[in-house]
Symmetry: C2
Subunit: 224 residues, 2 copies
Amino acid sequence: MRVGYELYKNQGIHVITSLFTVEQGVVKVLLIKRKNEPFFGDWVLTGGALYNNESLEEGAYRELKEKTGIENIPIKQFKAFGRVDRSPVMRMVAIAYIGIIDSKRVNIIRKSRNTSGADWVPIDKIPHLGYDHNEILSEAIEELKKDIVNSNILKSLFPDGITIPELQKTYEAILNKKFDRRNFRKKILSLNLLEDTNQYGKFEGNKPAKIYKFKNDIEKITVL
Amino acid sequence: MRVGYELYKNQGIHVITSLFTVEQGVVKVLLIKRKNEPFFGDWVLTGGALYNNESLEEGAYRELKEKTGIENIPIKQFKAFGRVDRSPVMRMVAIAYIGIIDSKRVNIIRKSRNTSGADWVPIDKIPHLGYDHNEILSEAIEELKKDIVNSNILKSLFPDGITIPELQKTYEAILNKKFDRRNFRKKILSLNLLEDTNQYGKFEGNKPAKIYKFKNDIEKITVL
DNA sequence: ACAAAAGTGTTGACTTTACACCCATGG
DNA sequence: CCATGGGTGTAAAGTCAACACTTTTGT
């Protein structure tokens, strides 16, 4: 850096996505293992440097696609992180997003130019992460809790439809809290998020549950 | 820009604050008139380029202080703006904040190195602004509406205390909505945001109102 | 005593919570 | 006919919305 310019020069932008899934009542996040410096060998959230020819959201999508192959899921920006020393290389500000997806839809790309591993990790078993990603992830989890009760963000978790008991388990896993079955059903249905498909789930030793789908139109929601 | 590097190079970060005040039932925002390119002669929100030696919030504070002299008010980050062409000079991403303050506490610095004017402008009379500041401001106004019902952000508007009727007028101005006097009082007091000072306002041709103060500790709020 | 705004309580509508029994299914 | 989880209704508690009269003050 040169004097005079040094206050402004050599800055960059990260776009970072905390991509969540829920499997059997366990909330997990996609982590990537770095195979380059800085933070060689550390796990991190998906993301990277923003290009000049893309918007923030486009950058977040590109990074997601490079690491997971997925496209077209809704993501939500929730905060910028700007500690002076958050990157050892140069001054980087991170714009953080969250998303949630059915992990079965994703073929994680385990090896790539910058990664030597990728995995879904339960959020109560998160290792030390590179950069400030532990901090970003912990705020992302809070944001996720807010968003599932204020948006139809869960739609991308259940592209093929969902039964109300399954949905309840998902809410309970994310919010870490139990709900009364009858009241949950009434509440969810009263929100008009779901539409009846007139199909039924498979037998699993009990009465099959009705399958609903998330509607596309997002009405104003204030929930649970 | 050079090939190879060009995707990443010459990026920078803006920190932009929409600083609000409320005067006689009118919500106003502090605007600055630029006296340099780009956007010479245009009005903009307060803000500027982030330095490498300061966090995002420190940058926002520094810019506010340069333009208004104020310090120590709470500000809240609410969104990053990253349209590719939002700055004509180089790739800039803006981190946007809101704050609110009693305008009587501020001596606006009307002339400075980069500004040829500064004024409180009613939010329904906003001119065309430089950069993407019209977009930022319009989202800031929405954020302000959210925040006054979910935080004690109004504390910085009333450092010396507030009567409930005054507070109601402020809510009504910001939310553009009328409330029932009795219900408003009950609701606000039930939130435990305010503490009684046992002082009374001055006579203004009527019964003086009791003065309350915002408490310092922010309890969990979900309001109005 | 008047004008002007402050302060106060109750009722009905609605929303939220708590809770128990019957139902459909495959084995 | 059994085990398992799915589906349903109701009453009590709590919250929100609507509404009118009395109080205090300086002149």
